[in-house]
C-alpha cells in the first residue's frame, strides 16, 4: 500500500503539490509513481524562472527501463528546483514527499486546492 499523505493535493498523472507557508507550491511525484517506475537513475528538473502552464511537461524521471514526463499540476513560475537530484536520483525513491521534491512554483494556490485530495487520489490508484 503506497503512502498518500493527507495534507497534499494530487493529479491523476501522479504529481503531488504542497502549498507552503510563503504561498509557493512544492511539486513532486507520488510514492505510488516512484514505486511503479522502480529505481530511478536520472531526474531532469525545470530551469528556475521558467513559466509553466498547467499540464505542461516540465520534468523527466527515468529508471533503467522507463522514462516518464512530469507535468506541471498548476500554472506558475519555477522559483526553485531540486538540484540534488542530478547526482542523487535515489532521493526520489527513498523520500518522494521530502528530499525527493522536484521543483517549487509561485502561482495561484487556489489552483492547487482544486486538485484531487488524498482520498480521491487513493481511489484513483486503487
Amino acid at each position: 500500500m503506497s503512502n498518500v499523505p493527507a495534507d497534499l493535493r494530487y493529479t491523476k498523472s501522479h504529481e503531488w503539490v504542497r502549498v507552503e507557508s510563503d504561498g509557493t507550491m512544492t511539486v513532486g511525484i507520488t510514492d505510488h509513481a516512484q514505486a511503479e517506475l522502480g529505481d530511478l537513475v536520472f531526474v531532469e528538473v525545470p530551469e528556475v524562472d521558467r513559466a509553466l502552464k498547467a499540464s505542461e511537461a516540465c520534468a523527466v524521471v527515468e529508471s533503467v527501463k522507463a522514462a516518464s514526463d512530469v507535468y506541471a499540476p498548476v500554472s506558475g513560475t519555477v522559483v526553485a528546483a531540486n538540484e540534488k537530484l542530478a547526482d542523487a536520483p535515489e532521493l526520489l525513491n527513498d523520500d518522494p514527499y521530502g528530499e525527493g521534491w522536484l521543483f517549487r512554483l509561485s502561482g495561484d494556490a487556489a489552483e492547487a486546492e482544486a486538485l484531487l485530495d488524498a482520498d480521491a487520489y487513493s481511489a484513483e490508484i486503487g
Binding site: V41, F42, E44, S63, V64, K65, A66, A67
Partner: protein, 457 residues
C-alpha cells in the same frame, strides 16, 4: 527450399498439432483479394555452386585496381586476424546485446572500443558507434541543439572545405528539425578555413561550429584558433576527424584552450575494407556533460549478483524503444560487426603501429605529390600542410585523364572540379601506407604517358 529443415512428415505432424488442414490455411486471415500471385519476375533458385560462379565473375570483372582515391574512404592494410575473428559465428550472427548475460563477449568488446576511442580523441565518453561518418555529423548537430536547449539558434557553421557529401547528408538529416547550415569559405591558395572567413560568414549566435581535421583536401587546419573562436561565440565545437591521424595528432580534447565538445568521424580506416562504400561505422565522442544528449548505444561496466564485474547497455532511457517520440534519435543499431573489426584492428596495431600507418601515409602522399608534380602539366593546387591526401591541378580536364588511367588499371584519384569549380582542373589524390615506391612510379609513368599522348594527338 534452401535452409528449411522440414521433412514432409514434419509438416504433416506439425499441422495436425496446430489443427490446420494445410499450410495455406495458416494464412486464412489474409483476405483473398490480397493474396500474392506467382513471383515469376524473380529468377529461379540458384544453388550455391551456381551463385558462387556468378559472384566470382562479377568480382573479377570489377578487378583490383591500383587505387589512389581517398575522399573519405581509405585503403589501409587490414591484418588477416581482424576479419577471421570478426566473422566467427558468435560475433557475426549475434544480435544487439539486450540480454547482457548472454552477450558479454560483444559487450566487453564494445567497452574496450569505447575506451580506445576515448584514448584517440581525448574525450570522456564514446558511444558504441553510429552508421557512418556523415550521418554521425548529422547526429552531432542535433545533439548540439539539444544540449543548448532553448538557447539554441539552430544555426551551424561548417567549412566549405568539409567533405561535400558530409555537408549534404548533414543538411538532409537535420533540416526538418530547424537546423540551418552556413558555409565558411576556404582561403584561396591554401584551401584552409580561417577565423577571418568564419567571421565573414556573419552568423549570429551559432549553436555549433564544425571543424574538419584534416579537411576534404587533406589540409591541416589551425584547429586551436578555430576552436577558441567558436567558443567565444558561445557555440559548441564539433570536430570531424580522421581516426588514423589521431595516432600522431593532438586529440580534439586539447584543441584551443577548452577543447572540442563533440568529436565525430568515419571509422572505416580502422579495419573496414573499402567495399564500395559500406558497411563502415561512425564514431561519436563527447565530454561528460553532454552524455544524456548522446544518440546511440552506450555500454557500461557494472556488477552482477555475486559482485563480479560485467557489462551491459546503459542509459537506455535516451533511446527510441523507451522514449519513443522523445528519443535522442530513431537509431536502433550501432555497426556492431564493424566495431568488432575496428577494436581488433586497434589492438593489433597498437599505438606504435597506428602512428606508423599515419606517418607512412603522410610520407607516401608527399612522395606521390613530388613525383606527379614533376610531370609537365601537373602542379600542386594548395600550399597548406596536409595529411595523407592533397589536391593537384592538371592543365586539362581531369575526367578523360582518369578514364585513360583506369584503362591502365589505375584509379588515379577523384575529379573534384565539379564539386569545387574554383579550384579548376582539380584532382584529389591519396597514397596510404599500402602504396609502394613502385606503385607511385607506375602511376607517374602512366600519367606521363597519358598526358603526353593527349598532347601529341
Amino acid at each position: 527450399m534452401p535452409f528449411v529443415p522440414h521433412t514432409e512428415k514434419d509438416i504433416q505432424e506439425m499441422l495436425s498439432v496446430i489443427g490446420a488442414p494445410s499450410v495455406d490455411a495458416l494464412f486464412d486471415e489474409i483476405p483473398e483479394h490480397l493474396r500474392c500471385k506467382k513471383l515469376d519476375a524473380i529468377p529461379s533458385s540458384a544453388p550455391e555452386m551456381e551463385i558462387t560462379r556468378v559472384m566470382h565473375e562479377r568480382a573479377a570483372a570489377d578487378g583490383i585496381a591500383l587505387n589512389f582515391i581517398g575522399a573519405g574512404a581509405y585503403e589501409h592494410h587490414i591484418p588477416a586476424a581482424v576479419w577471421e575473428i570478426t566473422t566467427r559465428g558468435e560475433f557475426y550472427s549475434a544480435y544487439t546485446p539486450y540480454q547482457a548475460e548472454a552477450s558479454q563477449g560483444t559487450l566487453q568488446l564494445l567497452y574496450e572500443f569505447q575506451t580506445m576511442m576515448c584514448e584517440l580523441t581525448g574525450m570522456e565518453i564514446s558511444n558504441a558507434s553510429l552508421y557512418d561518418g556523415a550521418s554521425s555529423l548529422a547526429e552531432a548537430l542535433l545533439m548540439a541543439v539539444r544540449s543548448l536547449g532553448r538557447k539554441a539558434s539552430g544555426r551551424v557553421l561548417l567549412p566549405r572545405a568539409l567533405h561535400p557529401y558530409y555537408r549534404q547528408v548533414a543538411a538532409n538529416l537535420t533540416h526538418a528539425q530547424g537546423v540551418t547550415l552556413h558555409e565558411v569559405d576556404f582561403e584561396a591558395g591554401t584551401g584552409l578555413t580561417t577565423v577571418a572567413a568564419a567571421e565573414r560568414a556573419g552568423v549570429e549566435a551559432p549553436t555549433a561550429v564544425v571543424i574538419s581535421q584534416p579537411n576534404f583536401f587533406g589540409g591541416l587546419e589551425d584547429v586551436d584558433a578555430l576552436t577558441d573562436w567558436a567558443h567565444a561565440q558561445g557555440a559548441l565545437v564539433i570536430a570531424v576527424v580522421n581516426p588514423t591521424l589521431l595516432a600522431v595528432h593532438r586529440p580534439p580534447s586539447e584543441w584551443g584552450s577548452k577543447g572540442a565538445d563533440i568529436v565525430v568521424g568515419e571509422g572505416q580506416p580502422l579495419g573496414a575494407p573499402l567495399s564500395s562504400g559500406g558497411p563502415y561505422f561512425g564514431f561519436l565522442c563527447c565530454s561528460k556533460q553532454y552524455v544524456r544528449q548522446m544518440p546511440g548505444r552506450i555500454v557500461g561496466r557494472t556488477l552482477d549478483l555475486d559482485g563480479k564485474p560485467g557489462y551491459t547497455l546503459t542509459l537506455q532511457a535516451r533511446e527510441q524503444h523507451i522514449r519513443r517520440s522523445k528519443a535522442t534519435s530513431n537509431i536502433c543499431t550501432n555497426q556492431g560487426l564493424l566495431v568488432t573489426a575496428a577494436t581488433i584492428y586497434m589492438s593489433l596495431l597498437g599505438p606504435e603501429g597506428l602512428s606508423r600507418v599515419a606517418n607512412a601515409s603522410m610520407a607516401n602522399t608527399r612522395k606521390l605529390r613530388d613525383a606527379l608534380t614533376a610531370l609537365p602539366g601537373v602542379t600542386a593546387a594548395l600550399s597548406a600542410p596536409f595529411f595523407h591526401e592533397t589536391v593537384l591541378t592538371l592543365d586539362r580536364k581531369v575526367a578523360p585523364v582518369l578514364e585513360r588511367l583506369s584503362d591502365e588499371g589505375i584509379v588515379g584519384g577523384l575529379d573534384i572540379s565539379g564539386m569545387y569549380p574554383e579550384l579548376g582542373n582539380a584532382l584529389l589524390v591519396c597514397a596510404t601506407e599500402t602504396r609502394t615506391d613502385a606503385d607511385i612510379a607506375r602511376y607517374k609513368q602512366a600519367l606521363g604517358e597519358v598526358l603526353a599522348r593527349a598532347k601529341a594527338a
